[in-house]
């Protein structure tokens, strides 16, 4: 029997994030021949609602209010509780993003449901919806099911394959009434620190630096390579502790856990804490002076050499391919 799944869409800089399309794909798997309902919350979201349908939603609900322009747990929670009450879904899926991580446990607590966080795979086996998720920051994995009829989950960006966009798909788009009570937290300001908008957790390619980068300025060649590749820049704890870069860039057991298609580790020795955060990347390249560095044990391709020599050469090579455009 088909199930009803709600997927909360996420918008950044006016566009839907990829993780939303991946969440819809997860929703389709769970729903079987049931229904996937996309939800969009914000100030002006009607115009992009159609895209959710093109990626597999059957229907989209939109909630618009100037107070919903920036995410707040209280505002979004109120809207989502209304939606869940109206639709009575079997499952609600969020991206495992800053928003999803903040909102989903609060909603799950309010509705007394289980929540499976950070799923990297979802399948239906013997009538059970089975979620796979990393534990110990990717040193191990577990498969989890819900013992309750209703289940919430967040899915990690970059792991579940989104469906191809199909512009021939159609479905209804309905706006829902919003009446917000007081929001207990007020956002006074958002300071943009991420320069190029390529978020680490969602990046397809990451160029990361370690202690071998030696200084703040040492990240410059990495940034140039990242720019050519349309990649995000990350770092090991060593580089952050040495103040070469901001902790926001840290990848590892503390810090972010990432799974890009391509991870280029520059001057990173490969401590177990760092490997926990990136070893599930699809392809790993290591550039390090020390041939004995542990990073080479998990790298698909290794170059023993000076990153300050090799990285600019790589940048030149990639420039010639002109891939970013």
């Amino acid at each position: 029997m088909g199930k009803k799944v709600i997927v909360l869409g996420e918008i950044r800089d006016g566009e839907l994030r990829n993780v939303t399309f991946e969440a819809i794909a997860a929703g389709r798997t769970i729903s079987g021949d049931g229904e996937v309902i996309g939800v969009l919350i914000g100030e002006n979201v009607q115009s992009i609602a159609q895209e959710l349908i093109h990626y597999g939603a059957d229907k989209v609900l939109t909630a618009e209010d100037p107070k919903l322009k920036t995410y707040t747990a209280d505002g979004y929670s109120q809207v989502m509780r209304g939606v869940i009450e109206q639709e009575n879904p079997d499952s609600v899926i969020f991206g495992h993003t800053a928003m999803g991580k903040d909102l989903s446990p609060k909603l799950a607590a309010r509705l007394q449901t289980g929540l499976i966080s950070d799923a990297i795979d979802v399948s239906v086996t013997g009538g059970n919806v089975v979620f796979t998720r990393p534990i110990y920051s990717g040193k191990a994995f577990e498969r989890v099911i819900s013992t309750d009829p209703m289940i919430f989950a967040t899915i990690r960006p970059n792991n579940i394959q989104a469906s191809e966009k199909d512009t021939s798909r159609s479905g209804s788009i309905e706006s829902i009434d919003v009446s917000l009570t007081d929001l207990r937290t007020v956002i006074q300001e958002v300071v943009k620190k991420t320069a190029d908008g390529v978020d680490l957790s969602e990046a397809k390619i990451i160029v990361a630096g370690g202690r071998g980068v030696k200084s703040k300025e040492g990240f410059q060649p990495l940034q140039e390579l990242a720019e050519v590749l349309g990649a995000a820049v990350g770092a090991s704890r060593g580089a952050c502790d040495a103040d070469y870069c901001d902790y926001a860039l840290q990848i590892g057991q503390t810090g972010k856990v990432v799974t890009p298609d391509l991870y280029i580790a520059c001057g990173i020795s490969g401590a177990i804490q760092h490997l926990a955060g990136m070893s599930n990347s699809k392809v790993i390249v290591a550039i390090n002076k020390d041939p004995e560095a542990d990073i080479f044990k998990i790298a698909d391709y290794g170059i023993v050499g000076d990153l300050f020599e090799v990285v600019p050469l790589l940048t030149e090579e990639f420039k010639q391919l002109n891939i970013h455009s």
Binding site: K106, F141, S146, T185, G255, Y301, F318
Partner: protein, 257 residues
């Protein structure tokens, strides 16, 4: 101020994971306070230094968690509470733990509850925000800065690298992100004092919580290790040749470019 810190003991980050008969083996493992909870403890101590008050460190777990609670006391917490669920809950999930904490916290007087934003073992980041919701208080996750003024609170929150500046009021729950502070090491006098600080042990019965009301909603059916990676290809030749070859391999063999 009445400050409460939620903490959990976790494997040391150096530990390798071993799975036997579907369970994570912890024989001989080194344990630490979850690193994100250490930021929460440090922040509580700094707030106490500024505003005065009492810090209570709370954990849910088994008897052996006393060791990490003593470390928190040695850092500067005033008292500790160990809610021992060993005999009552077999495989608790985040729902279970938040129920347990709620039944403890609802009878306490508190201004601020601090926790780590995620534990590095389970990695769900659910328990603290769930607790805030059950207590019906505002909650700011992944904070990198916190200032308290009377009953007003201002926090900076890490949102995927950007910073949100948020205003709210106490009582409040916050979860710590890396960058919030630099946790101190326990001093020798601190360690000596910690031995005498009060550490209360409670069970579900003491909290008037029935096991059924904390039964998990989730069930883990399998645990496994990631497949071992084969050693890769070391590229030879002059740097320029290596760079060329790498780009070509990434295109034609790995097909990621």
């Amino acid at each position: 101020m009445n400050l409460f810190v939620l903490m959990k003991r976790t494997f040391d980050t150096e530990e390798k994971i071993v799975i036997e008969t579907g369970k994570i083996q912890d024989d001989g493992a080194e344990w630490i306070i979850n690193p994100y909870d250490e930021y929460a403890i440090e922040e509580a101590i700094q707030l106490k230094e500024k505003h005065g008050g009492t810090i209570t460190a709370v954990t849910v777990g088994g008897e052996e968690a006393e060791k990490e609670l003593r470390t928190a006391l040695a850092m500067g917490c005033d008292q500790a509470v160990l809610i021992n669920i060993e005999d009552d809950l077999d495989e608790p999930d985040q729902y279970s733990i938040s129920q347990v904490l709620y039944h403890y916290m609802k009878d306490q007087e508190f201004d601020l509850i601090l926790g780590g934003n995620v534990a590095i073992d389970g990695g769900s980041g659910q328990v603290a925000p769930r607790l805030a919701e059950l207590l019906d208080i505002p909650c700011i996750t992944t904070i990198t800065k916190l200032e308290i003024n009377g009953t007003d609170a201002e926090a900076e929150r890490d949102v995927e690298g950007d910073v949100e500046k948020i205003k709210t009021t106490l009582p409040l729950l916050v979860t710590a992100q890396q960058g919030l502070n630099e946790p101190r090491y326990p001093s020798l006098p601190g360690i000596m004092k910690a031995k005498k600080k009060p550490l209360e042990e409670l069970e579900l019965d003491d909290l008037d919580l029935d096991e059924e009301d904390a039964e998990p909603k989730l069930k883990t059916i399998e645990r496994f290790l990631p497949p071992k990676k084969e050693a890769g290809k070391l590229l030879q030749g002059e740097p320029a040749e290596q760079a060329k070859e790498l780009v070509s391999l990434l295109r034609s063999e790995a097909k990621v470019i």
